[in-house]
């Protein structure tokens, strides 16, 4: 068998952008720094060298207006891809996203679609602090007319990005900063993954673990720990938050009857609340056990001594699962990492 091609999530995005730009001349990449040496954490690197200047646009810090520009492009035949290096910056453009982009097709009576992608990067770690590490997926997922996509692996990153660009609707494409560094198998050729619902990451019959974005990575580790303990977890990746397709999850839960939902954002009024509710709506008769976790209910502080308690960890997830199974779960030494909690790996040293 051939060695599988392993690249980073950031490179997968970069490759996806390049391929779709090659294929579709209407695709335009725009946003702060898309043409700069950093290239939005490497995701837009060298596009400016490979494509004419009028397809890769650096933007002024005018987030509200340039979201409007992108809508104008989209409704007149282009396919713009915006990026924000932190989801927080997009809050300046909520009017354009929520009032305009999400409703344009509907309020034009189905005449004018808005094919655009808004890449929102979620920050974490290295003391980003309250204004650079929010998740906020639910703010977009609540809005009919928006699609909300959250890839968790390099494979998904490329395939779902390409599909998002092909999609005729405004797609909010969440990328977790810590995922950018992760590596995985990504086919060289252009491919796309349909935006039709959760992806089964790992099969198992004892418990269903539901998560998305970076938290999914933590959950995959958890599933390994469980495996060591003879608990077979089924891991479901809700990589499309809106429209939410719950079917595959139902099937899994029907089997396991035990669920843990690990939210990537704040727990209160979070993504987990909707999933939790849908499950109980669907399992009125069969009794299921369901637990929900998410970011602690406070702004995320800068200091590592506090932020380490903000996020669910493999340990806190295991603890919850111990409660579900009412038994002790043993965690092998190798899972106790020496990397501080504000770094995804040794090489991530900030500064941002």
């Amino acid at each position: 068998m051939l060695e599988k091609r392993i690249i980073t999530f950031a490179n997968a995005i970069n490759e996806g952008l390049e391929q779709i730009m090659q294929k579709d001349k209407n695709v335009i990449v725009m946003g702060l720094g898309v043409d700069d040496p950093g290239g939005v954490f490497g995701t837009t690197k060298d596009l400016i060298k490979k494509f004419p200047k009028d397809r890769v646009f650096d933007m002024p810090t005018s987030e509200n207006a340039f979201t409007g520009f992108a809508i104008g492009l989209a409704i007149s035949g282009k396919k713009p891809i915006i990026s924000h290096q932190r989801v927080e910056f997009s809050l300046l453009s909520m009017e354009q996203i929520i009032n305009q982009a999400s409703k344009w097709f509907y309020m034009s009576g189905g005449k004018v679609p808005v094919p655009m992608v808004i890449r929102l990067i979620v920050g974490r770690g290295w003391g980003q602090g309250p204004q650079h590490s929010q998740s906020l997926e639910v703010l977009f997922s609540h809005i009919p007319g928006l699609k909300v996509v959250c890839p968790a692996t390099p494979f998904e990153a490329k395939g779902m990005l390409i599909e998002s660009i092909k999609d005729k609707n405004p797609v909010i494409f969440f990328e977790h900063r810590w995922l950018h560094l992760t590596k995985g198998y990504v086919p060289k050729k252009m491919y796309s993954i349909p935006l039709n619902g959760p992806r089964l990451m790992k099969k198992g019959g004892d418990i269903t673990i539901i998560s998305f974005s970076y938290m999914l990575i933590e959950c995959l580790t958890v599933s390994k720990i469980l495996s060591d303990n003879n608990i077979k977890a089924e891991v479901m990746n809700i990589n499309v938050l809106n429209p939410l397709n719950i079917k595959k999850i139902n099937n899994s839960v029907r089997k396991t009857k035990k669920v843990i939902i690990v939210d990537n954002g704040w727990k209160n009024y979070g993504i987990g609340s909707e999933i939790f509710t849908r499950l109980f709506e669907n399992f009125k008769k069969n009794k299921i056990i369901c637990e929900r976790m998410g970011i602690a209910n406070s702004p995320i502080p800068s200091t590592i001594s506090l932020s380490k308690f903000s996020y669910p960890t493999k340990f806190s997830i295991i603890k919850k699962i111990e409660q579900i199974f009412k038994k002790k779960i043993i965690i092998k030494k190798k899972y106790f990492s020496k990397i501080p909690s504000d770094q995804p790996d040794k090489n991530f040293l900030g500064p941002f």
């Binding site: 009017e95 009032n99 034009s108 009576g109 005449k111 609707n169």
Partner: protein, 320 residues
């Protein structure tokens, strides 16, 4: 000139009479949506639009009827839209505040103040990218210039030298709020635009002929040089901000101000002048008004006999 003046007069008359018909019929409660009538503000729409081609596009805001009609938007679809019918230009989903007619080049109207300004800039950016020889005209009120997105949009249009005409219809009020509550007396949007690298001009907003002539040059210039421009037009709305009535009794606009502007009605002025010059006769006007009246009657009838959208359409068109 005679011909064009007559045309401008008739176009304004048409819009005025349509708007008046909406006002008159509003009480029957069949147009169940907010309406921001353009009565008194017909000149900018008519004067500018006369210089546009079909492939030139416009975007506008809540007070959009005059723009829609002057650009050639379909009357029947508009009246049907106000009636919430599926034959409406947005299939009843939009209402008065979301008029659209793609064929006529009416790309968008939305009621969030300032929101179509960047969208219009985006459309014009695409025209430039595609090397089209068209322009976008963006209509907005004095209030909209207070939104930050206005500056952001001017900045970008200047930076990328886009084929866009910004048109500010200054009726001195944002709902009931006078300019003095909202903007420094020293504020001058033409100078602001100039400081950003965009040329601008001020024309009397009720003088349709002057708007027509000057905007002709300006629009030609934009097309030739692909460069943005901003127009400032002082004008006056006759009726209340939203709705079919006159609200002068509320006294938020001084009697003097109102009288001065009513004496300066774009339609009366031109009508008098053309009658005086014998460019047009009373009979011709009467004739034309009859034609309009029939057109309007038909539109209301069309709206009335059109069907409401069926329930299933509630959940259609959410995603393309």
């Amino acid at each position: 000139m005679k011909k064009i003046e007559k045309k401008l007069l008739f176009k304004m008359l048409r819009i005025r009479n349509i708007e008046q018909a909406i006002a008159d019929n509003y009480k029957f409660q069949k147009m169940r949506c907010p309406v921001h009538l353009s009565i008194g503000q017909e000149a900018p729409a008519v004067g500018i639009m006369e210089n546009l081609r079909k492939n030139d596009k416009i975007v506008t805001a809540h007070r959009s009827h005059a723009h829609y009609l002057a650009k050639g938007g379909n009357l029947n679809s508009m009246i049907a839209e106000l009636h919430g019918k599926s034959s409406g230009c947005a299939k009843g989903k939009g209402g008065s505040m979301h008029l659209i007619d793609l064929e006529a080049g009416v790309s968008a109207a939305v009621p969030i103040v300032g929101s179509t300004i960047p969208i219009g800039v985006g459309i014009s950016w695409n025209m430039k990218l595609r090397k089209m020889k068209n322009i976008v005209v963006i209509f907005f009120g004095d209030g909209a210039t207070e939104e930050g997105v206005f500056l952001e949009s001017l900045d970008f249009a200047s930076l990328h030298s886009l084929p866009v005409l910004f048109v500010c219809e200054n009726n001195h009020f944002s709902v009931y709020s006078p300019l003095s509550n909202r903007q420094s007396k020293k504020r001058d949007i033409i100078k602001i635009a100039k400081a950003i690298g965009i040329s601008g001009s001020k024309i009397h907003g009720n003088d349709v002929l002057s708007i027509y002539k000057k905007s002709k040059k300006i629009i030609n210039n934009i097309k030739r040089n692909t460069k943005p421009h901003i127009l400032l037009l002082d004008t006056f709305r006759h009726l209340e901000h939203c709705g079919p009535n006159n609200d002068n009794h509320l006294n938020y606009r001084s009697k003097n101000y109102i009288r001065k502007w009513l004496d300066n009605c774009p339609i009366q002025n031109l009508k008098k002048k053309l009658l005086r010059n014998k460019f047009v006769t009373h009979a011709q006007i009467k004739n034309y008004e009859n034609k309009i009246s029939n057109e309007i009657k038909f539109a209301f009838k069309y709206a009335n006999i059109s069907k409401f959208p069926e329930k299933k359409y509630l959940l259609k068109n959410i995603y393309a």
